[in-house]
Symmetry: C2
Subunit: 243 residues, 2 copies
Amino acid sequence: MPRTAAALIIGNEILSGKIVDTNTTFLARTLFELGIDLRRVVVCPDEVDTIAADLSALRTTYDLVFTSGGVGPTHDDVTIDGVAASFGRPVVRSEAVEKMIRHYYGDRATEAHFRMANMPEGGEMIRSSEAPWPTVVVENVFVLPGVPEIFELKLADLRKRLDEGHEFHSQAVYTHSGEGEIASLLERIAKDFPAVMVGSYVKWKAEDYRTKVTFDGNDPEDVAKAADTLVTELDPKQFVRRE
Amino acid sequence: MPRTAAALIIGNEILSGKIVDTNTTFLARTLFELGIDLRRVVVCPDEVDTIAADLSALRTTYDLVFTSGGVGPTHDDVTIDGVAASFGRPVVRSEAVEKMIRHYYGDRATEAHFRMANMPEGGEMIRSSEAPWPTVVVENVFVLPGVPEIFELKLADLRKRLDEGHEFHSQAVYTHSGEGEIASLLERIAKDFPAVMVGSYVKWKAEDYRTKVTFDGNDPEDVAKAADTLVTELDPKQFVRRE
């Protein structure tokens, strides 16, 4: 069974449409490549109680949880408090990170900057050569920042730790057929290959195909057989290409 | 009090990173312009039970709920079934939409196409001159498609129905200061103007400023006063511009 995951995206700026959330897509693609099944994403406001309640629901249901946002120095950065509340632990200050902040900001360092050295008691601070700041991990919860450049850097760093060699395999078949015309065929294939995820995507803008059908699963042979079935049973005139 | 809203984004293709969800941002911006407070977004897989459970939680907590995705003709398009299950109502077929489908697809129409005429019993089919297909509405739940072009068209159509004249007003102040340096000032402003949302956004890529501070609220005077406070109390050398 693939491991399951959820994401908690924290920030009023996303809910008000001021900032476009690109972290969810980056996370989804990374987890897919690692064969980890992202099952749920929740976007919530910068509120300690909401974060704590959401995180408690997610971390007890899924194998891995990734949070994004709310870890900066300002009043609305309350993710660490929310994570600590979810685990029922106090917030403590990492001396190592406090030193890093003092070194980085020097005389400009304010109490607000030092909040970035906070973490729930018993949390781990994972350091790497790539990312400028460590990543807080508490049990199965990875606390990542909202700024996309740093989110992506940190997640790339975590790949090795998360990789257990169960990557997904994918094939795609492109057809001139509309979804409605091949719906019953796809339904049959999905039933015959229960371990393969069958998806279909209509192209509305001009392309050389109308529907892209995707096949994803942990077993490459199974995935190939499911795609074979579609290619074999499709009207040859409707077939465009296979990837 | 502004009305509250939530979104339920339905689709394995988003959770696997195959498709980038742009509907959430479009919805967030539209609701913000209408003064409707989007409080929560959930992305869930194409599963009837999950959709029903999520929708039941959202529609009883928020004034308005918008769903996106899962309304096409294929086996994984189960949103209507999920909405019906949440309301405990049977799925019925709209004769009017059935006629539209018959007219549009002619001899090519399949049983799968006619699934797009399904709706929960007692639902409304809202028609408009702009969107090619009607939108299903059940009480406070608006069922929108996942394809962004149609999602946006339909939501634009719904604007008049949703507009109650409580739009948000926004101002922004750009500064050379880092977030950490103005954190305590921002916290004080947020406390002094409880009806104004104060947000701060760091720019990591080269720009003429380091932090953008935003002020949003229903009362334009209140918003202006909050922004005034920042401009007045900021070191003048750090001020870049106001918008």
